[in-house]
């Protein structure tokens, strides 16, 4: 039994970042799947503040919030390569900046564009593109945001690689087109081809069924 346990939900992109980090560093761990509609008492005990996944349990002590967990993994298993964060403080600050930008801006806007329709969808997409432009610029001359290998910020944006095409298929809209975002699309391909990434992500057909059902529920709830 491993001294590291990860509480996750199979479809959620946040715990997947942690799976990737642990796999890439070769850290042994046990996976505990949560049904988010029926959360276990253990999860509620380990993350009483947010009651969410992911939660990393290391030697019995819980850590919550994916970006906090990634930094913890990096600092605790210092000798395990590859490093997720560079050594230089300025480069570290940049990696943290882009990761936060992804979660604060890109993810919510792409999600909005996916679950909304009509004018709301159009507006969300415009806002998403406005913000994605900065990412496109940042990717100039880089294979990954972390440089030659996948790093902290890449793991945070990783959901683009497997979920964007799922969202596009379900909603019947192009979220990231190759004319406006050629570097981003290249990054998505490089990310998916990086070690341990594609082999650990959930099967596409399951994701499509799950997010299609979720989208329909959310659309049905919208005030008319």
């Amino acid at each position: 039994m491993a001294e590291v346990k990860l509480f996750r939900a199979w479809s959620s992109p946040f715990p997947l970042r942690i799976v990737w980090a642990l796999e890439v560093k070769g850290i042994e761990y046990d996976m505990i799947y949560e049904d988010l509609s029926n959360k276990s008492s253990m999860l509620l005990q380990y993350n009483p503040v947010y009651k969410k996944v992911p939660v990393l349990l290391h030697k019995g002590k819980p850590i919550s919030e994916s970006l906090v967990i990634l930094e913890y993994i990096e600092e605790t298993w210092k000798s395990k390569t590859p490093s997720l964060l560079p050594g230089d403080p300025y480069q570290r600050a940049m990696a943290r900046f882009w990761a936060k930008f992804g979660d604060d801006k890109i993810l919510p806007l792409i999600w909005e564009a996916f679950i909304k329709q009509g004018k709301d969808q159009e507006e969300a997409l415009i806002a998403a593109h406005e913000n994605l432009k900065y990412l496109e610029v940042e990717l100039r001359g880089k294979k990954f945001l972390g440089g030659e290998t996948v790093g902290f910020a890449d793991l945070t944006f990783g959901w683009l690689a497997n979920l964007v095409s799922v969202f596009e298929e379900i909603a019947g809209v192009t979220l990231i087109d190759h004319e406006k975002f050629p570097l981003l699309l290249t990054w998505m391909k490089n990310f998916m081809d990086a070690p341990k990434i594609r082999e650990t992500w959930p099967p596409r057909d399951k994701l499509i069924n799950h997010f299609r059902a979720l989208r329909e529920t959310l659309i049905a709830k919208e005030p008319k």
Partner: protein
Amino acid sequence: MAEEVVLLDFWASMFGMRVRIALAEKGIKYEYREEDLRNKSDLLLQMNPVHKKIPVLIHNGKPICESLIIVQYIDEVWNDKSPLLPSDPYKRAQARFWADFIDKKVYDTGRKLWTTKGEENETAKKELVEIFKTLEEELGEKPYFGGETFGFMDVAFVTFYSWFYAFETFGEFSMEAEHPKIIAWAKRCMQKESVAKTLPDRQKVYEFALDLRKRNLGE
């Protein structure tokens, strides 16, 4: 090489204050530049094109944005004195988690006190009470959130102390009565020169918030 440190900031920003406290803790000399948030300087727009917000720390010409990221940067570069983050990875994770909690919860909910009316406002008040209760539980009997010494999480939260008077007045409650542990902790932090010299006068902050409310709610 002489270090050149410039801070683009706004006097009432609890985010900017975090950076000022960190710089003071480390004894770093810097140039403070006040931004007019309704007429942002070219320098700000150039240094933070993504968010166009303060605070921005410019170190030897290179910008760092987002207050908690800046504070970590300061801690890592000027690591010879007054460490803000603890050395133990688990304690560091706890500090980061709670600082992030402040950003996610205190600011957004507190803001609603002067940007909303009616039911939304009432809900915000109730949520804020719960948030402060959670924070008091986390503080427990410790002198600081970080434990025995003033640290990252304390820096993240203490800047809101200058806004408590505004919260109390708009929310019609007393922090001292409802959340005495937080007030005791804040007063303890105010004994530190870096905090006392950074936090602006609460009346000034309240008047600023009142003005924000007028502009938001058109009163």
